[in-house]
């Protein structure tokens, strides 16, 4: 899986950097300033490239009994099977420079593939798409069974 991503501060447009929801998400990474979007932050958010614009959207659902899929990820095969067809998932890109899992930061070339699903209140929520891990990703992340679907990249 991927429990978070990081993006250099300079990668976010100025109008977004003033968003109060970014408070507490700016980190010093060995001297470089970056925003980290981690699943355990409250509320979990992700930057999302959607319809040509960059948004900050709520990430997944932590409500097991709610109408939205529970958790931060949806397997691509579930989308292919039409499991959420009723919610009309829209494909998006989550721009990222690094992905994070079990304490490992790994390089992401462009971003992670995701889908935006609207809840009953019509508010958009983003999920990362996942696929079964390659042997390489399993070794890198200490046997994680699922990996994020990356744009133009296989780990």
């Amino acid at each position: 899986m991927c429990t978070g991503i990081a993006l250099a501060v300079t990668e976010l447009p100025l109008d977004l950097t003033s968003d109060p929801r970014l408070a507490g998400r700016e980190y010093d990474h060995a001297g470089e300033r970056e925003y980290r979007f981690l699943w355990w932050q409250k509320p979990p958010l992700l930057p999302v490239l959607w319809d040509g614009r960059l948004y900050l959207l709520p990430w997944g659902s932590q409500n097991r009994r709610g109408p939205l899929p529970y958790g931060p990820w949806i397997p691509q095969e579930k989308i292919d099977e039409g499991a959420f067809a009723g919610a009309v998932p829209e494909p998006v890109v989550i721009p990222a420079q690094f992905g994070h899992h079990k304490g490992t930061w790994y390089l992401i070339s462009e971003g992670v593939r995701g889908v935006v699903i609207r809840g009953p209140d019509r508010r958009p929520v983003v999920y990362m798409l996942t696929t079964p891990s390659t042997n390489y990703y399993k070794n890198m992340t200490e046997h994680e069974a699922w990996m994020p679907m990356l744009v133009g990249q296989v780990i």
Binding site: N135, Y136, E142
Partner: protein, 408 residues
């Protein structure tokens, strides 16, 4: 006074990590580790990560404890080769004779830049390499290859050093343990110990016949080089291979014989690419198989006539694999090795190797398709038994696929 004839040596600093920073400059300021073929071990790291004590060969789960801010990158040998060839070309702008020693190391016939000293020339090449290719490189000039390589190691990272006189050489050699010399480690160093030879200077000052006796002719050559007598010239093209091999890790533990067969055919197909590239045929095939717990074994098969044909080599490889395979054991590494190579024109058809135009045509079509549409676009159906490995495009190009260099 005439300038002495010197050898130039260039060694890229933290090459794989530096090459990654060429296309992603923002990585240059972060601790970066490049992971090897299986994603488990750090095969290169930049100086920022080195400061945290991360060593080459260390597993990622240990490295990330030492360096929690470290960023890990999957290796991309195709990109590293692109950068390596640019470096080679850039040095060629400064010398008529350049040796492609390894993917990130070069020897060349040193010629001082017009109006410059050797020291200024070393600094110029270093600066130009960083400016035009983007890779930091340490450059050294000395009287021999061995001296140039040793002195470059003392100047890392991003150093430039020209050592022209014996006093300067002796001063530097006295500070270097003898194990710094490529080819003298462990066993050889222990053989030198009783003679009080601990530094490179001790070795240089020892009697030549003694070194020949203790370290054989290879060590004797090194002794000459340490004393400023060039032994090995600059080799602008690779000396012909005595054998060719393809293989390596099986990307995990393989127990299923069919998966093993899939890997065998993959390695045979890669080996045939090399045979064709070097225009040689093989008379003997060896399959090595590492099966932890059961041991490492080799199966050898002599071929009736030198061949580069898929059908003949797969049939031989199957027999060799059977010889090396311990039923029920789990394998982790496999190598398929072609030896007793015969160069173009030197082979003779035998009664048992009649011409087969149909198979030759199939082989030619396969080569053409793969040249046009990408490596492994057309491959044997048997490789489907190891298909997961083909799904990752990064596995299409490995370090051994970088041709023309002398060292792995």
């Amino acid at each position: 006074m005439a300038m002495p004839h010197l050898i130039g040596f260039g060694d890229a600093d933290s090459f794989y990590a530096s090459a990654e920073a060429v296309r992603r400059p923002w990585l240059a300021n972060l601790p970066v580790g490049v992971l090897g073929n299986q994603g488990a071990c750090v095969i290169a790291r930049n100086y920022k990560m080195k400061k945290f004590g991360v060593n080459v060969g260390e597993p990622i789960w240990e490295a990330k404890v030492k360096c929690p801010d470290g960023v890990y990158v999957k290796r991309d040998f195709r990109w590293y080769e692109t950068i390596s060839r640019k470096m080679h070309g850039k040095i060629g702008d400064h010398s008529p004779a350049v040796e492609y020693y390894s993917i990130d190391e070069f020897f060349w016939q040193a010629i001082p830049e017009r109006g410059m000293s050797y020291q200024q020339s070393a600094e110029t090449i270093r600066g130009e390499m960083k400016r035009t290719v983007g890779v930091p490189m340490t450059v050294a000039f000395a009287r021999t290859r061995t001296l140039a390589k040793l002195f470059a190691d003392t100047a890392k990272p991003f150093g430039a050093k020209a050592v022209l006189d014996r006093d300067h050489e002796r001063e530097l050699l006295g500070k270097l343990p003898v194990t710094e010399i490529a080819g003298i480690a462990g066993k050889r160093a222990r053989r030198l110990e009783p003679y009080g030879i601990r530094t490179c200077l001790d070795l240089a000052d020892a009697k030549g016949p003694l070194i020949r006796q203790v370290l054989t002719v290879t060590g004797y050559d090194l002794w000459h080089e340490l004393n400023g007598v060039p032994v090995t010239p600059i080799r602008t093209s690779r000396t012909p291979h005595k054998m060719l091999s393809r293989g390596g890790s099986l990307a995990g533990r393989v127990k299923d014989p069919w998966s093993l067969y899939g890997w065998l055919v993959r390695n045979v197909e890669r080996l045939i690419e090399e045979l064709h590239y070097h225009e040689v045929r093989t008379s003997e095939l060896v399959v090595y198989l590492a099966q932890p717990g059961a041991g490492s074994f080799a199966g050898v098969v002599s071929l009736g006539a030198p061949t580069d044909r898929f059908d003949a080599l797969v049939a031989a490889a199957r027999v060799a694999l059977k010889k090396a395979y311990k039923p029920g054991a789990t394998a982790t590494h496999m190598h398929v090795l072609a030896s007793k190579l015969v160069r173009g024109g030197g082979w003779q058809q035998s009664l048992f190797d009649p011409p087969n135009p149909r198979l030759d045509t199939v082989a030619a079509v396969k080569r053409e398709i793969n040249d046009r549409y990408g490596r492994f676009a057309l491959r044997s159906g048997a490789t489907l038994f190891a298909n997961a490995f083909y799904e990752d495009p990064a596995n299409e190009h490995e370090i051994c696929d970088v041709r023309g260099k002398f060292c792995f």
